[in-house]
Symmetry: C2
Subunit: 342 residues, 2 copies
DNA sequence: CTGAAAGCGCTAACAT
DNA sequence: ATGTTAGCGCTTTCAG
């Protein structure tokens, strides 16, 4: 932590001008036809004394902060924190830093965060948009702020985005449950939400149900529903309808479902959840899931954003990542066994 | 996202000088004896046009970035992410922002991150130090960089820190297990680590064991041990010693232990884990834990750091947060019942 | 090839 | 009480 050394110190020590040093440091040595000897001498000296440019001054001057803003629904959800981790790593490797925040599906908070990031002059945004953010995002878009949406998108907005193949995921999960002749009544638990990922998952479920000519049982929970209330509603839903199997639209809904089963001493219905969680692997029986390849998502997100910043995106990137159904005990063990276990 | 408006624009529009505006904006109105009328007029105008100072320029000028660096062991561990969330909130309320990173208990990575934060001129650090970081931290300390350690501390270093009462937590948990006459053999699973929190927990375990004049069974796992290997070792430890009960030093060790039990179809021993986890509440039986009050920790951390930044800490803050034993099924259900269940 | 100098937007010492 | 102005450290135009 030696005291900070300035570009002018370097110039002085080497008996040359700051301009020259700056050019060399910014890789414009040959463009400016600075001799290789000098270039090397400067670079060596810089390394020797461990000079690091003052990023603040650099940013103020160039208008580039080299900071990317990541706004996710909830950083403590393992799905989002895993994506964040990967994004962070790739960003670092490209000389960028990430500032991340949770917006808890609250449009007001999201707007504040975007404003905050804007004030901090972040160079680009990755956002999982809550409902009600259309105008703000549209504004960013109009101002040519680099922006990539993720997990869900705004249909009316022409932005880059990276999402899951939610329809297919829900369709396959539901079909899988229906394939078991034991399962007559297959329900679906989702959120009161018009977000695209929720709509697509619902459609996937409906398609599978329709293909099998079964009745649909759909329960929606309020996004900010209190836990106890949600558990109660889920219990009522599963119990009153005597459901054989349930597909849960998110990992935390599934967790609430498990809590309901436990609290009310119910038999565990066959089930599949969206997005994996440590808990699901250890649960007895283990919970089947539709998983997302988080590192693939992170990769697409960050590269799309960086390309946008560099102006290299020829066209709008609408990226759909395939997802995978991982069948575990919760959707295959026979109903009798289940009844004994729970 | 209207185009950025400058302090000079305000001065011009109002027909006054930038100094006056700057003084008013920085709350020095009365100190500089600026008339209340003008003050109000400026403030109102600022609000009306939505002026926000350019933080970059502000930082460059004042040398204060209003950014705090938070380096934790692993942001995807719910314990750390919960603390981070609370810290973030309090920091925001005080006009600070948080940049957080995981260092995965890797001293090299931690050093890089500290350097990175230093280059970014963060105003202060909150760090869970891995082993081997003594010198770097000592350097920060010598340079009067505001710094608070957390979760563990470096005994040879005179820094502020906020830690748990680990000794007491481990002692009580072990005593609780030993209080059950069924439990003759109570083991302890920890890490190869000399970090203070690990040492204190071990001592707490030993004290309880000694008080009961029992034999100690201690298994340490390598910090970066591969999961499969760790599970195997835990199985061997519990099985070969025919342990009645086990105390786990961290939540992820306990999770590995549960995986071992499941994989090898063992009977679940009585158990207690450090640091709660969603999984523990839903597990059958629910897992007893020694919990930390994350929001109390976050509070102490951020306030100590902010006071340090403002030079308000008269003396070294060595804060020890009490912890609480939450008894759940895993440490009370009779051994017979457990054998049936698992 | 290299140097002088003008700013990026803001704060605060100095002047009035 | 309020205005003038010199930087914070860097990049980059313009002149050599």
């Amino acid at each position: 932590m030696r005291k900070r050394i300035l570009i002018s110190d370097i110039a002085k020590s080497l008996g040359i001008s700051v301009t020259t040093v700056s050019f060399i440091l910014n890789g414009k040595a040959k463009e400016k036809r600075i001799s290789e000897g000098l270039t090397k001498r400067v670079l060596d000296y810089v390394k020797k004394v461990g000079y690091k440019p003052n990023q603040l001054a650099q940013s103020l001057r160039t208008g580039q902060s080299k900071i990317l803003g990541l706004i996710v629904e909830d950083i403590s959800n393992p799905f989002f924190s895993n994506v964040a981790k990967d994004i962070e790593k790739i960003a670092y490797d490209n000389g960028y830093h990430i500032i991340y925040c949770s917006m808890d599906n609250d449009a007001t908070k999201a707007k504040e965060l975007i404003q905050l990031f804007y004030d901090r002059q972040v160079d680009g945004y990755i956002i999982t948009p809550p409902e009600g953010l259309e105008d703000t995002l549209s504004n960013l878009n109009k101002n040519n702020v680099p922006l990539v949406l993720f997990d869900r998108y705004i249909p009316t907005l022409e932005t880059h985005y990276v999402v899951l193949d939610n329809f297919k995921g829900a369709f396959e999960a539901t079909s899988h449950l229906l394939a078991n002749p034991q399962n007559k009544k297959v329900g679906y638990v989702s959120l009161y939400s018009n977000q695209t990922q929720m709509r697509d998952r619902l459609e996937g479920y409906m398609k599978a149900i329709d293909d099998h000519q079964q009745q649909a049982y759909i329960k929606k929970i309020k996004i900010d529903e209190e836990e106890g209330e949600a558990i109660e509603q889920l219990h009522a839903f599963m119990h009153d309808n005597r459901l054989d199997a349930v597909l849960f639209a998110t990992n935390y809904l599934a967790i609430d479902g498990l809590k309901a089963v436990k609290q009310y001493g119910m038999n565990l219905p066959h089930m599949v959840a969206f997005d994996d969680h440590t808990l699901f692997k250890l649960h007895e029986p283990a919970i089947s899931v539709v998983t997302q390849d988080t590192s693939a998502i992170a990769n697409e997100l960050i590269h799309t954003l960086l390309n946008e910043i560099k102006g290299k995106n020829k066209e709008l990137q609408k990226i759909v990542i395939p997802c995978e159904l991982q069948v575990r005990g919760s959707s295959v063990i026979s109903q009798e066994t289940l009844e004994q276990t729970s």
